[in-house]
């Protein structure tokens, strides 16, 4: 259960990051998910990314909906405020939180039921608005907490554990996010931490709506033959277009890249993303190209992963609304209230 506290002691020689925090400072409570759950690997990747970025843990607000995935914010960043909100409604809660204080880092954690079914609308609209956030969907194609019903990302023709064939078309959240104008779009696999950690780190550094769809097999209900979200299936069909390295601060770009294979993207926060191309023809700055590429490969049954699209010059909802730099939650009557003299004038205009 989530009230089980983790022991606090740790190895004295544990590595520290630039802020002097160890890995342990980014951990949370002990996971109550099934042993081997893909979600726990994502939790580990989030911890790793935050550690590497030297983020102050308490400056992150982690917000989720309802479901197995939405429980995970309790398992990382124990010194951050978390909000396990309402099923499918993480995006609106996160949007509101972001409006109140633009200075925090917003991590939205959701699942495929939470974001593609009950919360499909909220997913879409938060992306449309360009909320500055990292939106992670832990996508297993199944309702785990209620024992194995199909979700809206389950592929047509895939089989449930009980042998039922899914006859509905699948929603590809990555394709939708691209269409709706997300400025950082990626897909990864919970079993590929090397790919996932830098993607999360890059998404956190991105200003604007970042979306990562992480295929995360459900060990209990969706890891059988006939499933298209099982470990085996995803490994066999994974088509990574690129790999990244996230370079924080003034770190020099590693020299061991073969010339012409690396593309460097500078982000708002000063970090650099070094993109190692795997597919030579793939251009992550071409939104339309990405959409076409995805559609073509999906038709062939391939799961395209990697950084699929990034607009390094993106802005966010606060820019659209032209809000003040000071977080709105710190403003008091002296700056918010027009006062009695103005009210007298208003009164006079209403006679």
């Amino acid at each position: 259960m989530t009230y089980i506290a983790k022991p606090k002691f740790h190895h004295p020689g544990l590595k520290k990051n630039d802020l002097g925090y160890t890995h342990r400072d980014y951990e949370g409570k002990i996971s109550t998910l099934c042993a081997g759950c893909g979600h726990d690997s994502i939790t580990a990747s989030i911890i790793e990314a935050c550690y590497e970025l030297s983020i102050e843990p308490h400056r992150v607000a982690k917000i989720s909906g309802i479901g197995c995935s939405s429980k995970t914010p309790d398992y990382f960043l124990g010194n951050s405020h978390g909000f396990n909100s309402v099923h499918g409604r993480m995006p609106s809660v996160l949007t509101g939180a972001n409006l109140a204080n633009r200075d925090l880092i917003y991590l939205g954690v959701s699942g495929d039921g939470d974001s593609a079914s009950i919360g499909f609308g909220q997913f879409a609209h938060s992306i449309r608005r360009g909320v500055n956030m990292t939106y992670i969907v832990e996508n297993n194609g199944v309702y785990g907490l209620t024992k194995g019903q199909f979700s809206a990302t389950a592929d047509r023709g895939s089989k449930s554990k009980k042998g039922v064939t899914n006859t509905d078309n699948a929603i590809d959240l990555v394709a939708i996010a691209l269409q709706l104008g997300a400025t950082f779009v990626a897909r990864s696999f919970s079993g590929d931490k090397n790919q996932l950690v830098p993607l999360i780190a890059a998404a956190i550094g991105h200003k604007g709506a970042s979306f990562i769809d992480v295929i995360s097999p459900c060990i209990a209900f969706n890891n059988h033959a006939g499933s298209t979200k099982s470990f085996d299936y995803v490994r066999e069909h994974n088509d990574a277009v690129n790999r990244l390295d996230v370079l924080v601060g003034r770190d020099p770009i590693a020299v061991d890249y073969a010339p012409g294979t690396v593309q460097v993207v500078e982000q708002h926060d000063g970090s650099k993303i070094a993109l190692r191309k795997i597919d030579a023809d793939y251009d992550p700055h071409d939104r339309l190209g990405a959409q076409t590429f995805l559609a073509k490969h999906a038709a062939k049954g391939q799961i395209v992963t990697g950084l699929l699209y990034v607009d390094p010059d993106a802005d966010d909802l606060h820019a659209h609304l032209n809000t003040v730099e000071t977080p709105l939650n710190t403003l008091e009557a002296d700056t918010l209230c027009p006062g009695s003299a103005v009210l007298d004038k208003i009164n006079a205009s209403l006679r």
Partner: protein, 615 residues
């Protein structure tokens, strides 16, 4: 030949304009109401409009009332019948002895009129068409022309109307002079061709004083500006949309940094009401003052989040501009029909704070206060307006603000307090008032963080399904609600001249009609003490009022006497002693209606001894 003497009345009559929606009549009609105010005579105007943009019938009713009765009166003394679609009904609705004003350009068969009213024909279309050629001008100026004709018939001072036109078109000289010209076209025609004035007249008085003329929705939005709301999320729905629109307009004027031009607010038009309340809850959780405005259907959609706000104890302000339900109901008609839906919104055991402003002035005050209350009590506060207050201009006392006032941000534990070693339990009742401390996200690197959830948890916000832990929390929420009783606006009591066993409870937009009804009832010999409820949870004075009276009428604008149900439920009182007086046809309740309903019941109660009756 008239069967009835024409009504003769100075500064006390009702004029109703029957128009076609989208014909541009609204501004002329509103100018008519404002012009009477400028004579120092109170008016109470009401829009009666369809859920439609163009083509359907719409009415604008102006009650001219030197006595200051701002409730709807019922009945029409003068009908300005500009809509052929509703002609028959409009003519039939005129009081005997009343007046019918119509466009006489095309002859009407005599069967279309009544013998017991005075018919006043003005060839509006003919006058308009001979002066203007542009179709849009013809449509708009026709309205000003009838305003001019009315000014002559009712003996209004044209200077005052010209002044209003001058204010409205300040800096737009061409529009200004053409409007004044149209006004005099109508006025001169009436003076030359009709017997002016008629029996209804406007005479200068001094009964308006320093009062202002404002719509409740605009006042509530201004209250949100003054109350420090920085986040507003909303979804369009009649009759609440103008709250968010007014908030936007007020913020544009008063909430931009003079140096940078940047906005000290964020307004989001949500994709639905679920997103709107979600944004409000996310923002409030993170320490901003946030609100949404909606109406009944929106409340239904928001209920899951409202339960979260109650249980996870997150402030939220919801302005509910009530309209007739259930379902889509009558979207453009007024009711007070969401009392139960809001008081107990969401599944499980919940209770919510409701505020009942009576007019725009209180809507302003209560809206501002709602943000203090939400942060103090850490829960949802409903501001319960309705269409009658929200979407009509109402004469009310000027809005007031005390510049010394600081916002009450409630119990928030700061980094300094955490550093001092204060014990932080998000759901720990340290003061015995049921209200725990909260921290804002990002407060301290190692202390004060917690995990907010809608699931059960212990005093330190740790997940728990232990029965005793759950019950402990639920009991604290009851204590918190008891604390709220003394924080919300108290009921206002007004006693009859003579001691009486009878009382009446009312709230919100019923107020002006109730005040007027008391006079009518006194004239019939009925004495009643009055209690105007201004908030839920009910203050202890409600229970005292019930105890002091044998019978208490509960006057409200819904079918099921919802406030009465709430009183019976919360005060454990014998329902027989609470007599429901309900009005729910979608029109605003009137003094006449209340006085008749209560008067008849009172007559019925007064049993005449048998011997006396037969002697």
């Amino acid at each position: 030949m008239s069967d009835k003497k024409p009504i003769s009345s100075v500064n006390d009559f009702v004029v109703r304009f029957a128009n076609v929606n989208g014909s541009g009549s609204a501004s002329a009609n509103e100018m008519f109401a404002r012009a009477i105010l400028r004579h120092g005579v109170p008016v109470s105007p009401r829009n009666i409009f369809p859920s439609n943009i163009q083509g359907l019938p719409t009415w604008y009713e102006v009650r001219v009332t030197e006595a200051g009765h701002l409730g709807a009166r019922g009945g029409v003394d003068m009908m300005v019948a500009m809509n052929p679609q509703t002609w028959d009904k409009d003519v039939a609705g005129i009081e005997p002895g009343g007046y019918l004003f119509y466009d006489s350009t095309k002859p009407m068969p005599s069967t279309k009129f009544r013998d017991d009213i005075t018919v006043i024909g003005v060839p509006l279309t003919a006058i308009t068409n001979s002066t203007y050629t542009d179709p849009r001008q013809r449509q708009l100026f026709k309205n000003i022309i009838y305003l001019g004709a009315l000014s002559a018939l009712l003996e209004m001072d044209p200077k005052l109307i010209e002044q209003l036109i001058g204010e409205q078109y300040k800096g737009k000289e061409k529009l200004l002079s053409s409007n004044v010209h149209a006004l005099h076209l109508g006025r001169d025609w009436a003076l030359q061709n009709l017997k002016c004035p008629i029996g209804l007249r406007v005479k200068k008085s001094d009964k308006v004083g320093d009062r202002i003329f404002i719509e409740g929705n605009s006042a509530a939005a201004l209250g949100a500006v003054y109350g420090g709301a920085t986040v507003c999320a909303w979804y369009p729905i009649t009759p609440s949309s103008s709250v968010a629109e007014a908030f936007t307009a007020h913020c544009k004027k008063y909430r931009h940094d003079p140096e940078t031009g940047k906005a000290k607010y964020a307004i989001i038009q949500g994709e639905d009401e679920l997103a709107s309340i979600g944004i409000v809850i996310g923002a409030s959780w993170n320490g901003a003052r946030a609100f949404t405005a909606t109406s009944g259907p929106g409340i239904s959609l928001m209920t899951e989040f409202i339960g979260l706000s109650y249980f996870a104890e997150i402030p939220a302000v919801i302005m509910n501009i009530q309209r007739a339900g259930p379902s889509t109901g009558m979207p453009t008609r007024t009711q007070q029909c969401d009392i139960i839906a809001c008081a107990y919104a969401s599944h499980g055991d919940t209770k919510h704070v409701l505020l009942f402003p009576e007019d725009p002035a209180e809507a302003f005050e209560f809206a501002a206060a709602a943000f203090d209350l939400a942060e103090r009590i850490q829960t949802t506060i409903f501001l319960m307006l309705d269409l009658d207050i929200g979407m009509n201009h109402r004469l009310c006392r000027p809005l007031k603000w005390d510049d010394a006032k600081q916002y009450d941000r409630g119990k928030v534990m700061t980094a300094e307090m955490l550093e001092e070693g204060r014990d932080f339990g998000r759901y720990l009742d340290v003061d015995g008032d049921g209200i725990p401390y909260r921290t804002y996200p990002g407060t301290h690197p190692t202390k004060g963080s917690y995990f907010t959830r809608g699931t059960s948890r212990d005093r330190y916000a740790r997940y728990s399904e232990e029965g005793s832990v759950y019950a402990d929390n639920m009991q604290r929420l009851v204590r918190k609600f008891e604390t709220a009783q003394d924080l919300v606006p108290r009921p206002l009591q007004a006693n009859a001249e003579r001691p009486t066993k009878y009382g009446v409870i009312y709230f919100g937009s019923t107020s002006p009609a109730m005040d007027e009804a008391i006079g009518l009832l006194e004239a019939r010999g009925h004495q009643l003490d009055r209690l105007r409820i201004r908030a839920f949870p009910f203050h202890s004075s409600v229970a005292s009022f019930l105890a002091e009276h044998d019978f208490v009428y509960v006057v409200e604008q819904n079918r099921d006497s919802q406030l009465r149900q709430l009183i019976v439920n919360e005060n454990g009182i014998d329902p027989v002693r609470l007599v429901p007086i309900v009005h729910y046809d979608g029109t605003p309740i009137t003094a006449r209606y209340i006085a008749k309903a209560i008067g008849d019941h009172q007559d019925h109660l007064k049993v005449t001894p048998l011997r006396k009756a037969v002697s």
